[in-house]
Amino acid sequence: MTATLTTCPYCGTGCMLYLLSDGQGRLVGVEPSAGHPVSRGQLCVKGWNAHAFVQHPDRLKTPLVRRNGTLEPAGWDEALDLVHQRFRQISAAHGPDSLVFFSSAKVGNEENYLLMKLARVGYGTNNIDHCARLCHSSTVTGLVETLGSGAMTNTVACLDETDLVLVIGSNTTEQHPLIGSRILQATQRGCRLIVADGRRIKLSRHADLHLRHRNGTDVALLNGIMQQILELGLENRAFIEERTENFTALQESLAAFTPERVAAITGLQADEITAAARMFGTAKRAMLLYAMGITQHSHGVDNVRAVSNLALLTGNLGKPGTGVNPLRGQNNVQGACDMGALPDVLTGYQKVAEPSVRDRFAAAWGRPLPDRPGLMATHAFDAALAGRARAFFILGENPVLSEANQAHVVKALAAIDFLVVVDIFPTETSAFADVVLPAACYAEKDGTFTSTERRVQRFRRALPPPGEARADWEILSALLERCGLPAGYPGPGQIMDEIAAVTPSYGGISYPRLEESGLQWPCPNHDHPGTPILHRQSCTRGKGRFSPVDFRPSRELPDAAYPLLLNTGRTGMHWHTGTMTRRSHLLDREEHSAFIEIHPEDAARLSIRDRQQVSVESRRGEVRVMATLTDRVPLGQVFMPFHFVEGAANALTNNALDPESGIPEFKVCAVRITPC
Amino acid sequence: MQPRPCPNQPPSVYAPRPCRLLSVTDLTPQEKLFRLQLHDGEELGHLPGQFVQVSVPGLTEAPISVASSPDRHGAFDLGVRRAGRLTTALHALRPGALLGIRGPFGRPFQLDALAGKDLLLIAGGCGLAPLRSLLQYCEDHRDRFGVLHLLYGARSPADLMFKEDLQEWQQGECFDCRVTVDQVPATGCYDGATGLVTGLLGDLDLMPHRTVAVLVGPPPMYRPLLEVLERKGIAKTSIMLSLERMMRCGIGKCGHCSIEHLLCCQDGPVFWLPEIEYLRGAL
């Protein structure tokens, strides 16, 4: 019987748990870590089931190579040689930028680092990206501009000290349950709660104010709140004076956002906006929490700017119980960004375009770096269809289900010359692959994840990988060596040492220091205790910058042909494309098929009964799912989770992109529904 | 964990006994009748109203009521509606297939309490399958009972289960058998009664003091039916009903079929009305 302390593989909250095994190689359960500052002896339902998929019989156990149209078992050397040889060929014929690398927010920091190194100096391209493009790319772009750092400014524990929480576009109790529960505990001790979300999510039942604004009108709402804060004189003049710049421009931009105009745009009552402004403006310490409801819009960066403006306007930055707190989705999406698995930056957000940065990395890695920023993941599929991107290396992602506009992705994957997929299970994406490489999952290897509160913490091997599956860092090391780069790392700890040497914000991080509950970056040197709260004396960029934004409507709104607004997201039971949770018995039993939430009045109008099969169509696709009648969704809006291949929400969604961050508009598109 | 050879007796209360599928008959578009025989030729040994756990490797088990009388020897019947993954897999099976069976489980219809009485046997929807075990028993032991009323309601003519049996029961001497459907599609040719099963009770001549009512149907059927029975003067102590729950183990351990302090798989599925009517969520 063994108990292995490790980090949960699901969301970015970063709970730690013990994986329990029976001593004969079988995982038998999970127990939360009592001493960890976030989990505190507690877990959510996915955490309690974090062992359940690990030994599922579907696990990939041997490399597969496509021969005569079918994927067949192959040896590791054969598979890796083929990958290397085809990448070399395609690069020679079409240039290194015809190669595209997708890294993964599910694998460790060390592995993200190695893949980004492989892409950049192994194969000579900055075409490296990962699913942060689909979740918080808007945050990174927006907050780097306004504050200088694209991460959660405060810590989860700050919820114990705040007086007001504004949650906008986050179904926190389902998506970051141990943060959501901390909000509920805060309300129990008298902390006020404003929830801005069209859906009647669980948090809204505890809110002092629930703002059910129309999807896609967040800029108007936030500008309206700020306009009223100024009107009521509740802005923090001293903070604005000392710590910010560009206030006059903001002030001017807000003038037009009167409560009446904002009410007309958002569908709220004018006095709700004033009430929100008064509540937020008078709170001594207020925390802003947001997630995909803010970022996944064709104006996602503007949404983030507006959130940041509100925090700066009221001085809610740089102290306990405040801050701009984007809740990162994946267990290691923060880390994958930190590691530079992005087309424009290296580790610690050091810009590829900066010659001095490239020089430093070239010195460390012994090879020059390509200087032009690479393709964003969401642009890579267009490039594939245009013949510019010819080979994809996809590590632990399933874009066929996770990207907007599934038909577009499928067409692109069918068009390219060569596809490599590294994963733990066969996926909808690996079905298109020429080579499939079986990876160890989180329970079978060592490494670090960085949680949403910038906490770098260990995950640990509890049992060996199945069959011939290997840790991603081992697979990537083998490819680095084929590229002639030294990669004889004895283990991930040594990779972290290399990361620390080239990354100022990780400079003080090493495995011996991470034994218990990790360290929060920036942690620049070996004596530094880590940084729970950012922007304390001044912002990372110096002054906090107000970045005025105007309201732009979503790109596709309901009309006569497609009269309902489709909102997409996740449920509390499942994780993303379901590769893990749909193979976890209890989670799969709780929600075992695709569904769409419809308001009972809309359903009545369309003659749709509860649990009936319906067809949902958008301009991009059609799926059949079960109707769930509920007033959780507002009238005129429907909601679908994107977990289910048999009723894929992303067959419908719109791949209209934010011009700056390249994030697709997952949260708004137009559909029509007919009973089957 | 060492494998242990399987003796004749099941090695554990959780071990299914191998069972051969003899035949499959379509009952309705959603329901099929499966005739099964235990692999070793043994009798199932059940009583009317009991259920078995049908095991399909890979899909676990589902509780299914036995639809035949213990006196029809050599094999037993299960009427199965296609609803979930396991029952969908069952529907795809062909004769000769191997299944696993555990049971029989649960408290049967109380035959002693029924002896010598007029019986008002009421089934709704696929409730006719469990009731059929008692109906066959009544046919085989006709002299033990007084008047036998059989009322059956289904959603539509196509949803009527056991159509051949119904025809026999309607034409034969054994039962006063009445059938109704909720609705008839415009295209259908059906000349029987329409309306809810409660409607069949209206002009029924009952002797309340010597009648026991036995009800088996979907959950929404019970409350309206009980109101009518009360009006008809049937005492609550003379009403027996069979409840449907998601039994997983059949031996009172898994907890999925609990109704307050009762366990449907052991204390039921057949209950006397007064035993459960005061319990939250029972009806």
Partner: protein, 328 residues
């Protein structure tokens, strides 16, 4: 027979236990979690809060392989490990919980799978001054093979079964008066949590708690299922099949009545179809239904659900709220 053990004696006793049993002792892990671990793996934590994971796990694990079904339907059961387990360091509540589920699984038709794991297992109580920081824990007065009553640096050893007696053979005798003193301490301290639970149970059983209350508590539930998974008297399980080569491995897995699918039927019908009903079930089952069926509360006040609940609606918290609102 009453014995008095010093630290060296205790080590001797543990060594003796470790020869015949798979001995599990409470240990404090690096992150602060107190768990039952194989003896000798880490340092003993003889004082502290109850071990975090429910001790009944030793006989009814979270994922519990029941049997294998071969291609021809042949069944092989999964036998228990060769050596029986010895659980050391259980407080009175945990021992009562084990006794509770012993009776549950033995009730005919008995659960042979559980009984095979439980049969030769040995239980060692650890009470007296063995709580967090040396706080007092009331004596168990039975329900185990032997009980150690912590006095500070020493332990009184009380055997409750012949096996317990044999294990204590040879240690120096103890003073009965010291046991009496501990019993007296327990009596004077009383059990306020038990009193609270009984009062709340009375209100629940007499149905004076309205549905609105259950809805409100349900609104605070984030559906982690931790309360059920942490509860030593929760025995509900679901069944999972996995294909392993040609065979099917059938296991049982801890389940939670807080899931919508717990009682949902394939037709969609669900007797526990709302959060309010499921919340009521969680509390009512322990405080009322178990009393009707088994003559005893299903909550023995181990405190685990209150500790594991991320939103503060464990059974003692809910009982206190019931009493505060409907107890007048």
């Amino acid at each position: 027979m009453l014995k008095r053990l010093d630290r060296a004696d205790l080590e001797k006793l543990l060594a003796a236990l470790a020869t015949g049993y798979r001995l599990l002792t409470p240990q404090r892990l690096a992150d602060g979690t107190r768990l039952h671990r194989p003896h000798g793996e880490g340092a003993l934590a003889l004082q502290g809060e109850p071990v975090q994971r429910k001790p009944t796990e030793a006989f009814f694990p979270q994922h519990d392989p029941l049997l294998r079904i071969g291609e021809q339907g042949e069944v092989t059961t999964c036998d228990p490990p060769d050596r029986p387990v010895a659980l050391f360091g259980l407080n009175a509540a945990d021992l009562a919980c084990i006794a509770f589920i012993d009776r549950f699984f033995a009730d005919p038709p008995a659960d042979d799978h559980y009984l095979a794991r439980r049969k030769d297992a040995l239980l060692v109580g650890l009470t007296g001054f063995a709580g967090p920081g040396g706080d007092f824990l009331p004596p168990a007065n039975g329900m185990c093979d032997l009980e150690l009553l912590a006095l500070g640096q020493n332990w009184l050893g009380v055997p409750w079964t012949p096996r317990g007696e044999a294990l204590l053979e040879g240690f120096p005798d103890g003073e009965q008066a010291e046991v009496e003193e501990l019993q007296e301490t327990a009596r004077t301290r009383g059990n306020p949590a038990q009193d609270l639970l009984e009062k709340a149970a009375g209100l629940v059983a007499s149905e004076v708690v309205p549905d609105d209350f259950w809805r409100e508590i349900g609104d605070r539930c984030i559906l982690c299922s931790g309360c059920n998974l942490a509860c030593p008297t929760c025995t509900c399980f679901c069944v999972e099949d996995r294909q392993e080569q040609a065979a099917t491995l059938r296991s049982r897995v801890w389940d939670s009545c807080q899931f919508d699918a717990f009682m949902r039927e394939a037709s969609g019908h669900n007797p526990l179809g709302t959060e309010a009903l499921r919340t009521r079930r969680r509390i009512h089952h322990k405080l009322a239904a178990d009393v009707t069926r088994w003559g005893e509360f299903g909550c023995l006040l181990c405190g685990r659900c209150d500790r594991v609940c991320p939103t503060g609606i464990g059974i003692q918290a809910v009982a206190a709220e019931i009493l505060a609102r409907f107890g007048a």
